[in-house]
Symmetry: C2
Subunit: 463 residues, 2 copies
């Protein structure tokens, strides 16, 4: 639980009502900017909001600004003067400016660019040009660069001079004259350095780094694998252009997991929080897959149509269709989910396909065997106690055997589909998360009903 | 992509073959411990592995040890002498020792405890007593404590004295005489402090902290909300007992997402990487839900059984059962997935239920309306071109109308179920992730087929 000591939003709101500038400034100095931003997001009166950003110094409002809701930010950018905006932008890290610029309409983007000082504007333009979700697009350009030949006092002087603007000075980067990254070190290393040592003596030359074009998922995997707290971003020829910090990666990891989860449920990922989107926007993300899957289910229907004579001869067989379909869907969903997640975490690669397939077939034998044995007993009981009535003179044991065998084969097919489709998708460059329960279910439904009816014609010699 | 400079595992392996201790030590000094651990995990010869841990100094092998696979660690703990083990343990952070102790059999746990020095042993015992997945269980006890009255040089002296063992000195914690946490600061603040200032002048008293018993998911939410890189853990009476760092939280976030994803596909979460588990262990995690859901599908079967006369009179109605069932399952899965993820991210709370329900009903009207319109046209076409044959003199348009209306109602019911079940689960203290597509599908299947048959009896006056 967060300990917000004495932060109390009523105090802020009442200071605002009274236009008590001194009190407001004090609140902005004393308390956590995230909590303050939460309060500001709730203010309905645009004049009050503007009052804050006009009277509280931008060193204090800058960071708060980056935690406001996009619509509140948009409103402020519209109404603030270019000078005021410029002061605020100067107090926000470039990667955070990029974050909210990506949400803004074009006229406001150009207002932001005009208001930013030259250096910031260059940084922004630079970052905006990197592909979405690339390391370049999430990095910050505010970091401390040292030289290998620096003595410890020289390095400390450099840190004091350039570090105030930096997003972190806990991680320091050493570049040569052509800005090539040659080493990394921690502020801690400098604190523990011995007299007379230079940066070259204490820096780490076996550092991990990423390229600007690397996908953010790749960046996250590096953070996870090497337990990092910051990571340098370099160009193809090794020049340092930015850094990514762990707090940014936490957001990336959550975002990527959310996207995968949404795709796995046959939706296009939502770009914002669910309740902030209109029902129409949510519906748009859902309708395409629903339509595609509904039409695909037609195929399963056609199989039933083809075997209608079987059902006419033995209508009780219809009773077990939901059980077979659901078991197939669930078995396939389990397999595909496991594989999709393992691929995302880098635990398995495309080349492990053989091993995965053998593994899933073994799992299918065990679970399918258990389910088949259980369903055999269960159907016998259902018929015995009269829950299900068989028309005609069909022996209960034959129906139980038919369903039981179908369940076993269905589980087997489902696990094979569930294991194969995500890996196949990855191989051809599609997102494996698309090959989850909904698609697997649709395919397995058709296969399992075909098996069911084919077996039925054999067992009961119906055709 | 990781830049491993010149790290080359062949070099390490050949140095090992030649028993070249100097070369081995140099490799351990120069290169990333995670990469080295990856190589060591592949060594099959136990004697070679032991040779490394006996000849390379523990300051270098300690951290590598914590990245080895559990079975390799277990083997080493078995064969190393108590003294060797003790030296290695001294070079691993306590939270990492806990991580691998939790995987070890009891006799090895006691060997580890005996080998650890008194202080480490106390820390381990302490951490082991915290509930699994609590903040206490993931925190580290190695951090730097300062006093509010320290001058800057005093603070620096304290950091130099106690900081070497600490997991981070970028984040510093200020306690009073009763070890109560009174403030936090960054090493950066000390670097930029002015002469004559004390820690009290520059520390932040409005810090965010968590309690030892708080769930790790709660801790992760704080990291995300406040963009933190480290977080102090305190007792109920405010005493500082540990810290959690961002790299640990990255693991927590991935783990929690993986667990949720697995639960949402009706599996108990796997405790290890998929391919490292035997098929039997994987099957055990999957079979329970498959059985429960299969039996539940019986109920849907009984509904079909009850309406058998409808199907006998109009067998073509069976053809549309898969389409209705799949559309219901997919619609419900979309809603439940969205709500489960939003709950996990803290974007919606139980008290938002009313708003969520209205939202989903609006989405249901739009998607259900589109699907119903589409399916009406589609079935007319199917019958027109002869893909589906209707026995008897039933007009195509009536069948299309029946299915279309059923689809609309099904989508509506599915979205309501999908929105309600996760929130209801949370309210009664269950994990919302359990109420995902598999359960929602089972419930909606039964409801939608009941609607289908009841409507059919009305439309065709069959009963």
């Amino acid at each position: 639980m967060a300990e917000n000591q004495d932060y109390n939003e009523v105090e802020l709101l009442s200071a605002l009502k009274k236009r008590d500038v001194m009190k407001l400034r004090q609140i902005f100095t004393d308390f956590n900017i995230v909590d303050i931003a939460e309060t500001l997001n709730k203010i309905d009166n645009p004049a009050e909001l503007l009052f804050i950003f006009k009277t509280v110094p931008p060193e204090q409002t800058g960071e708060v600004f980056s935690y406001l809701d996009p619509d509140v930010q948009e409103h402020l950018i519209r109404v603030l003067s270019s000078n005021q905006l410029s002061d605020i932008l100067e107090n926000i890290y470039t990667d955070d400016i990029i974050d909210f610029m990506e949400e803004m309409p074009a006229n406001l983007v150009s207002k932001i660019l005009k208001s930013a000082d030259k250096e910031t504007r260059q940084d922004i333009n630079h970052l905006l040009n990197y592909k979405e979700n690339s390391a370049g697009s999430i990095m910050t350009t505010e970091y401390v660069q040292l030289k290998a030949e620096d003595t410890i006092p020289q390095a400390l002087a450099r840190i004091r001079k350039t570090g105030r603007e930096a997003e972190t000075i806990s991680y320091l980067f050493v570049t040569d004259t052509s800005r090539k990254l040659v080493g990394t070190l921690l502020l801690k290393d400098i604190v523990f350095a011995e007299e007379g040592q230079t940066i070259a003596d204490i820096m780490d030359t076996d550092f991990v780094s990423v390229k600007t074009s690397d996908d953010q998922e790749e960046v996250a995997l590096n953070f996870k694998k090497y337990d990092l707290n910051a990571l340098p971003v370099i160009t193809n020829d090794g020049r340092l252009v930015g850094i990514v910090t762990a707090d940014d990666i936490i957001d990336v990891i959550e975002e990527e997991a959310t996207e995968d989860i949404q795709k796995m449920a046959a939706m296009q990922p939502l770009e914002e929080e669910y309740l902030k989107l209109s029902p129409l926007s949510v519906a748009k993300k859902r309708i395409v897959w629903l339509l595609v899957l509904m039409i695909s289910a037609t195929f399963t229907g056609l199989i039933i149509n083809h075997f209608e004579s079987v059902l006419v001869a033995l209508p009780a067989l219809t009773v077990f269709i939901p059980m077979i379909m659901d078991t197939g869907g669930n078995s396939g969903g389990q397999a595909s989910t496991t594989i999709i997640r393992s691929l995302a975490l880098g635990e398995i690669k495309e080349k492990s396909y053989g091993r995965v397939l053998v593994h899933e077939m073994a799992v299918a034998s065990i679970t399918g065997g258990c389910l088949a044995a259980f369903v055999f007993a269960w159907i016998n009981i259902e018929i015995l106690v009269g829950l299900v009535q068989l028309s005609g003179n069909v022996p209960a044991v034959e129906v139980a055997f038919l369903v039981s065998l179908t369940v076993f084969i269905t589980v087997f097919l489902a696990k094979i589909c569930g294991a194969s489709l995500p890996i196949f998708a990855k191989k051809i460059g599609l997102d494996p998360a698309l090959m989850a329960q909904p698609i697997v279910t649709t395919i397995v439904d058709a296969l399992s009903l075909m098996v069911y009816f084919l077996l039925a014609t054999q067992v009961f010699q119906l055709i």
